[in-house]
Amino acid sequence: MAATQPRNALGMKSYLAIWVGLLCIVGIEVFLTYRHLSSDRLLLFLLIFAFIEAGIAVMFFMHLKYERPSLFWSLIPALLFVLFMMDHFWPDALRLEHLRVVHW
């Protein structure tokens, strides 16, 4: 069977550097947690850093950066669209608060 790993993927030294970078981001997240931010603001910052971490891991550890662009464009926009729509429609569930049946 033919090898499938992209040949221009990074070496172990680069992976270790990325690993250290990811650990630094985790450190920043923990630091922010104890800065007594409001929960909305903390959630926003933590989500931004989590997406940065995930992006780095997907592109370099999972080698998506070194695959054909068609794979990236088939997978990632679809996923982001679903996440966006989820975020858009979740608050709709709050309407239930106002749609409760009134028992006489």
Binding site: M1, A2, A3, T4, Q5, G11, M12, Y15, L16, W19, L22, L23, V26, E29, V30, T33, Y34, S39, D40, L42, L43, L46, L47, F49, A50, E53, A54, A57, V58, F61, M62, E67, R68, S70, L71, S74, L75, A78, L79, V82, L83, M86, D87, W90, P91, A93, L94
Partner: protein
């Protein structure tokens, strides 16, 4: 013969079926995790009396150690793939073994954390410190789903390692199981800040 042309067509992505299959699985699993994390996020931010019970030590420190271990296991998985690509089976098996050990350590740390919380009275629908009982439901379901994925990953890596040792699999299988393992790591990058850090004292 013209009807057989399609069989020889190259994949538009230039990858094997198993790799495309695992990418599609990862995509669907990402949506599963996203849905429960979205649900948790709305409940968490929408509740004014939400419980924040996690002390820096031991819970947050334990979470940081777990993050360190899981991220390290991703690097060792890359080492296994690199060795397999360079046709060095013994080194590949050694890296896979280290990955399994790190994954097992992560699971043990996780279960130890659960047992400590259960000992303090936390249950799926029971909050021993007051506040919404939903805390236990969201915490145990999200971390439990992730722990299930970690355990499944450990089993999958072991199966691939054994078959690789017997020359029944090749580097493409190592890569496929590696993609799944990195995905488990990516999910933890959201679980740790959202479930642990957002609930720190």
């Amino acid at each position: 013969m013209a009807g057989h042309e399609a069989l020889r067509e190259e994949s538009p992505y230039g990858i094997q079926h198993k790799k495309l299959g695992i990418w599609l699985f990862i995509l669907s699993d990402a949506v599963t995790f996203a849905s429960i994390l979205f649900a948790y996020g709305y409940v968490r931010v929408g509740s004014t009396d939400w419980t924040t019970p996690f002390a820096f030590s031991p819970t947050i420190v334990n979470g940081m150690v777990m993050t360190f271990v899981l991220l390290a296991s991703s690097v060792t998985m890359l080492g296994a793939l690199e060795a397999a690509k360079n046709e060095n089976p013994s080194r590949c098996l050694a890296w896979l073994g280290v990955t399994v050990l790190l994954g097992t350590l992560f699971a043990v740390l996780h279960i130890r954390e659960w047992l400590r919380m259960i000992g303090e009275g936390w249950r799926l629908f029971q909050n021993p410190v007051g506040g919404p009982a939903l805390f236990g439901a969201t915490f145990f379901s999200i971390t439990g789903l992730h722990l299930g994925h970690v355990i499944a990953g450990i089993v999958a890596i072991l199966v691939v390692a054994i078959k690789y040792h017997r020359r029944r699999t090749d580097e493409s299988h190592v890569e496929t199981v590696g993609l799944y393992w990195h995905f488990v790591d990516v999910v933890w990058m959201f679980v740790f800040p959202l479930v642990y850090l957002m609930n720190a004292k």
